[in-house]
Symmetry: C2
DNA sequence: CTGAAAGCGCTTACAG
DNA sequence: CTGAAAGCGCTTACAG
């Protein structure tokens, strides 16, 4: 881009001003789109900007103006599919709005460690987006000082929060309700549930949706089994489920958990979906290629990330319009891992 | 932290100076660990800092000093396991060094789009780490202006680069060599290879390692099959491989590809490892739980990210010692998907 | 050992 | 429509 190529120090607005024969305040007006600049002057400044390859120094802008066109995402993990997709969505929207995006990982849920991470994120300037699907994230969201602009990506709240709570979420209750109904409609007497860890002490929306479908169908309500996040956790609890001959349908809190359950079932010699049906949550990229291919419900995490940014953007700049929380609708994806129970006609 | 809790504007060094009864330059000396400060003065300043909850403004620091304790990671994707793990490793090391980490996604390999992303990353200040495993990343690495501190996370280079090239990589050649030898040792006549897209026009290190093992064993050398990154790509080429009865062993460029191949084999009714052996690359979290569990080679992506940061850190601060490129050794993980060919004794 | 001055590259009132 | 001044919160020489 820089034709001369031998510039050491990048051009400043003063350099541009000199080249255009104006004061640097006028250059400032031009790059800020201020209307009161004579047309010919503007042209001259623009030409100088182009010639010198000028780019406005973001650090100086932030210091002088007090706002920084930046957002940092606080998350407990960057490798889980859902988390990574949210991050990708945030970045996508931020890029479109010319915002920088930073990232901070909450390695521990320890209060002091979380507080330190929030501080670090605050030091970066700009707004915060915290993924609050787990205790570390929930702690971080709570630890954000009131004066800092923040939006939380949260589990479905029990009751719709006021407009003052800048939160986004997917409709997990509805999603769980749908998959459970799908399983019941196949003829299963009931559906067992392997839960992901809840971020709070309250009953999660997924659990609520599952329970509601069971209630409506008059099906017995087994105790939810507590799983963890990954396939190892699914496998661990799957072993117990596989040993229980009365279990014919299992809903898992996410696809990774389902993978572990599938494996445990296989090891126990129970066929899927012949003897047991399994369904997951998320529609991770590999789920369609498993054998059997996993029935699951697709959640739009990328869209969720975009929404989170839009909301934050609205808070940060009054000019930007505040998008309503667009709750994306979950989509049931029926594949091979679900079918009628044994002996069903 | 802030006991009073009603501070609007955060405390500045001037506020601290006033509270401690010194000039703000002295405060600056204290927070920078400058030795020439009287012990009692230092104590007083430290007390004031604590009381006011002072945190040094990173933006002002960056503007005044010219360096910014920040690094931004440029990557084509945030959801692939390897990429996400590298990011996690960078963040881990950056956090330990009190650096901020930014992220920029290269959504397209288009030259103008890549250049724009590099600019955006450069605007953020600080150093750059670019993941150059694909054309977009390779393009970005090439587009970084010479004056910008950058380290590339690259495929194994054909020849060791000079010390002036701040690159890190894993030993893919060795890794491919090992898995291929494992497969051959099982009795397979040869091993087919499904390649991930190469980031450059040159033959990739994985291909080279595979080929070397074949040569040493005097095995016939099938043409590598070109795959893509995900399971869909693996499935597409897997269909062809499954239809060829002479194929008894398949090495895949990554675990996702292997998943797709496994699925294609299953659909064609060819058992694994009974009729065909399959191996992958990366040891993604789900690979151990597939049925059959996937034989693969574990690569330390998180460590790679940490190394990348260490290298950049060394470039950014002369004080920080430049770590030697620590090439992590890949580890062969034999699971269920590999076994002797049919009819082998 | 410590203070007063200048400056990093911008923006924001204030004049004209 | 455009310029001169002050300031954002720090650091970096320069004095003493």
């Amino acid at each position: 881009m820089n034709v001369t190529g031998h510039t050491r120090r990048p051009a400043s607005i003063r350099d541009v001003a000199t080249a255009a024969g104006v004061s640097y305040q006028t250059v400032s007006r031009v790059i800020n789109g201020h209307p009161s600049v004579k047309h010919t002057t503007r042209e001259r400044v623009l030409a100088a900007i182009d010639e010198l390859g000028f780019r406005r120094n973001a650090t100086a802008l932030a210091l002088a103006s007090g706002r920084s066109r930046a957002v940092t995402v606080l998350t407990a993990n960057t490798t889980h599919y859902g988390y990574a997709s949210i991050l990708q969505g945030v970045e996508e929207a931020a890029r479109a709005a010319s915002y920088a995006v930073g990232i901070g990982v909450l390695e521990s849920a320890d209060e002091a460690a979380v507080a330190a991470e929030v501080q670090r994120a605050a030091d970066a300037g700009g707004g915060l987006i915290v993924i609050a699907y787990d205790p570390a994230g929930v702690g971080a969201l709570a630890a954000v000082p009131a004066e800092l602009p923040v939006v939380g990506v949260v589990e479905t709240p029990a009751s719709p929060p006021g407009d003052d709570r800048p939160w986004v979420w997917t409709d997990d209750r509805e999603a769980a309700y749908e998959v459970t109904r799908h399983l019941l409609s196949l003829g299963h007497e009931t559906v067992h549930y392997v839960a992901i860890p809840s971020s709070t002490r309250r009953t999660s929306a997924r659990t609520t949706g599952w329970r509601q479908a069971l209630k409506e169908a008059g099906a017995p309500e087994p105790r939810p089994v507590q799983g963890s996040w990954g396939p190892a956790g699914g496998h661990a609890v799957g072993v117990g489920l596989a040993a229980d001959p009365s279990v014919t349908a299992i809903l898992c809190g996410n696809d990774d958990l389902a993978l572990g359950v599938l494996r445990a079932l296989h090891e126990a010699g129970r066929s899927v979906p012949g003897e047991v049906s399994v369904a997951g949550f998320d529609d991770a990229p590999h789920s369609a290629y498993l054998t059997p291919a996993l029935t699951t419900v697709r959640l739009d995490f990328t869209g969720l990330g975009r929404s989170a940014f839009a909301l934050l953007h609205g808070v940060l700049e009054e000019s930007a319009q505040i998008a309503p929380h667009p709750v994306s609708v979950p989509e049931l994806v029926v594949r091979e891992s679900s079918g009628p129970p044994p002996g069903h006609d």
